[in-house]
């Protein structure tokens, strides 16, 4: 008996200390778990790819943890991540939106038709107003379709599953009609930048560092303001070390990400075109037939452009994703609207009795979802430089999966924006990683599906233990 308590004693108090530390710092252990899972996946892919194809230049010799791959990974995540932030609110409200993929298609195609067949001829191709009109149109159209869904669900009292399932089928048909079955291309040249293609679609190293500095200062100010506010109400504030830790960790994440996107250099060909476009002198290289000192000899391109390195910095779609994530976190956590969404998801009857207009709230949430689909449609069609009917195919499932992997409970009332974005990044990591390893896409689908179910399974166990 005494022996048992002796051996159990120190271990138990150790665990107690760790738990206490985590609690004092108000760290979300679930989020830590997700970050750990992400780390395992990233390192795993890098190591496996280093074995299969050595010399990738990654952190562990593979080709996953390279600045190039991570940069592309972020761009690829943005379309799903933007929509996922809206899906979190939809699911928290105990609803579902199965129509986001088809909605993306219809918005992309309509926006494409507008700029290519209407605005182009009317204003002249490349007119600076085109992209602005196109962007506004896409967001408003998305919001309108979302509002339509919301009205049917809230006032028509049709289950959201049915309304949006109908939308999934109907919207893709409508998208096909709008496009007359063809691919609408090319997009306006400014509009295209939103997709992150080409040198002008990233903000470059200087602005990236400036942005990172602003973000760091912002984190610091937010922590100080929060602490001061707690003190004015005589609340016990977090321990100082925990506050400092959260600033340091937040800043490190921002600076680390910035360092990664900045260390991705343009591929030689792109760098060359960029230099020519911007009249930046190219270091002397092989002369071409016309006698110009540009680098066209295939085998000498790299050496010729060694002196010509351009850091990319944050691409525009990633900035949009980050901005949407910030705004949506603010909406969910700091506004009355967000509070009502969570309260209603937790107990719709209670919210109604407390005076929340749950019907209007439902319409608002679906409208917001639609507007975010509009943003994603812009990014997706700009990135592809074309709008097709198939652009959003299956996106609804990835968006829902990302939200769920990110800890959103289908029972309603629980979910975070940050978690959902991480979920989207995690899923994209799996897909990109397996593509890097040349895994057949059929197997990729199997893995992603299994991970989805497994993530929810682990989540259930976690929640039960916390209880």
């Amino acid at each position: 008996m005494t022996e048992q308590s002796n051996t159990g004693g120190p271990a138990a108090s150790n665990e107690g200390l760790l738990t206490r530390l985590i609690r004092a710092a108000e760290i979300d252990t679930r989020m830590l778990g997700m970050l750990a899972a992400m780390l395992v996946i990233w390192v795993g892919f890098d190591i496996i790819s280093s074995i299969l194809r050595p010399g990738g230049g990654g952190l562990f010799g593979g080709s996953f943890l390279t600045s190039r791959n991570l940069w592309i990974l972020l761009v690829q995540t943005s379309v799903i991540a933007v929509m996922t932030t809206g899906m979190v609110l939809v699911i928290v409200l105990r609803q579902i939106d199965l129509s986001v993929g088809s909605m993306l298609s219809i918005v992309a195609v309509a926006t494409g038709v507008l700029q290519v067949f209407e605005l182009g001829p009317m204003l002249g191709v490349g007119h600076p107003a085109i992209w602005i009109i196109a962007v506004l149109f896409a967001i408003v159209l998305g919001a309108a379709i979302g509002a339509f869904n919301g009205v049917l669900i809230a006032y028509g009292q049709i289950p959201s599953f049915i309304v949006t399932l109908g939308g999934l089928i109907a919207f893709s048909g409508a998208a096909f009609l709008i496009a007359s079955g063809v691919t609408v291309a090319p997009m306006d040249k400014t509009f295209k930048l939103i997709g992150g293609n080409g040198p002008a679609a990233s903000i470059g190293p200087v602005w990236s560092w400036a942005l990172a500095a602003v973000a760091c200062i912002g984190i610091g100010l937010a922590v100080v303001a929060g602490r001061r506010r707690r003190l004015t109400f005589n609340f016990k504030p977090k321990p100082v070390w925990a506050e400092i830790l959260s600033v340091v960790v937040g800043c490190a994440a921002v600076l680390g990400t910035t360092a990664v996107v900045n260390s991705y250099l343009y591929p030689p060909r792109v760098a060359e075109r960029f230099a020519l476009d911007n009249k930046i002198p190219i270091p002397p290289g092989v002369e071409n037939k016309a006698g110009q000192a540009i680098c066209q000899a295939a085998d000498k391109v790299v050496s010729c452009l060694d002196g010509l390195t351009f850091q990319t910095g944050y691409p525009i779609p990633v900035l949009i994703m980050l901005a949407v994530g910030l705004v949506m976190t603010f909406v969910a956590r700091r506004t009355r609207f967000g509070r009502y969404v969570f309260a209603t998801g937790g107990n719709p009857e209670a919210a109604e009795l407390a005076g929340v207009n749950t019907k209007r709230l439902t319409v608002m949430v679906f409208t917001l979802m639609g507007a975010l689909v509009g943003i994603s449609a812009i990014i997706a069609s700009a990135r592809l430089d074309a709008a097709t009917t198939a652009l959003g195919t299956l996106n609804e499932l990835y968006v829902i999966a990302a939200a769920v992997i990110g800890g959103t409970s289908l029972a309603g009332g629980i979910g975070t924006i940050f978690g959902a974005i991480l979920g989207a990044l995690l899923m994209q990591s799996l897909q990109s990683g397996m593509a890097l390893l040349n895994v057949d896409s059929a197997y990729t689908n199997i893995v992603v599906g299994v991970v989805l179910v497994f993530a929810v399974f682990v989540d259930q166990i976690y929640r039960r233990r916390v209880k």
């Binding site: 506004t335 969570f342 998801g345 107990n347 407390a354 005076g355 929340v356």
Partner: protein
């Protein structure tokens, strides 16, 4: 015009806080409440008694705005009141503590306390810190042992949840309080606390409808009782004018004793 003013003035001396007249509401073919009338004066506790399904919760939900009546009138302070949703009811100072507690389980005590009436900063954002500070004050009075301000109310005990529900009802200067089985989920000690609270609120001039099927509770706390059966009012009586046995007779048989004013639901003997 003038007679009306005079009538209103003279009525205001002893005007009932609430008069519900001839209220009917049906769900499908079932008349849940059938021409029921009930009233409440300031500083008074009216116990509403009856079996499960007698229509007491339904009648009271008409007052709190959860259900819309099919017919009948509601007068607050002698004036016709249109109550068609919970927001209307709150505007009249009517607060309700529901049998099911009606808390949003996934948010904390402060968020529940202020649900629907959030405090906001000058930028229009939620002022969580101020709400928590107020919540600590209110809960400090109601339930001094309460410490779990950061946790979702789902993880609280029945008594703690009840204190949150009560705090929400009384924090916003309610004039009319509806308590639907307020002690159903509570232990003896907590039940006694709720009893104390009812006496305090009564002393402040708040009118209280106390719905219960525990006749002893009601006899201890109420000034008058109204008994319902099958959606109809059997009768209303001052607590001193009837015995518990007679009230039981009203509940079970629908028989109205001499000390009570019979309603439409009383059996003719």
């Amino acid at each position: 015009m003038s007679t009306e003013t005079i009538a209103a003035d003279s009525a205001s001396q002893a005007a009932p806080l609430v008069e519900m007249n001839d209220i009917s509401i049906a769900f499908g073919g079932i008349r849940a409440v059938d021409h029921a009338s009930i009233d409440l004066y300031p500083g008074e506790v009216v116990g509403l008694l009856g079996h499960n399904g007698a229509g007491k919760s339904t009648l009271i939900k008409v007052l709190s705005g959860a259900y819309k009546r099919d017919s009948g009138t509601i007068r607050i302070d002698g004036r016709d009141a249109e109550i068609s949703n919970p927001r209307d009811a709150k505007a009249f100072g009517i607060e309700t503590i529901y049998q099911t507690l009606a808390l949003a389980d996934n948010v904390d005590a402060a968020a529940n306390l202020y649900l629907g009436r959030e405090l906001r900063t000058r930028w229009g954002t939620l002022d969580d810190i101020a709400m928590e500070a107020e919540c600590r004050k209110v809960m400090g009075r109601l339930n001094p042992n309460f410490r779990r301000f950061k946790e979702p109310v789902k993880s609280l005990s029945g008594g703690q949840r009840q204190s949150v529900a009560i705090a929400r009802a009384i924090h916003f200067n309610a004039r009319i309080l509806i308590m639907d089985e307020p002690t159903a989920a509570l232990g003896p000690q907590e039940t006694a606390q709720v009893g104390e609270l009812i006496k305090q609120l009564k002393a402040q001039g708040i009118g209280i409808f106390l719905i219960s099927h525990d006749i002893h509770d009601v006899f201890d706390l109420a000034d008058r009782v109204t008994v319902m059966k099958n959606g109809r009012v059997v009768g209303t009586a001052r607590v001193g004018d009837v015995t518990k046995d007679e009230v039981l007779g009203m509940i079970i048989l629908g028989k109205c004793p001499p000390g009570a004013i019979p309603g439409p639901g009383a059996i003719k003997s």
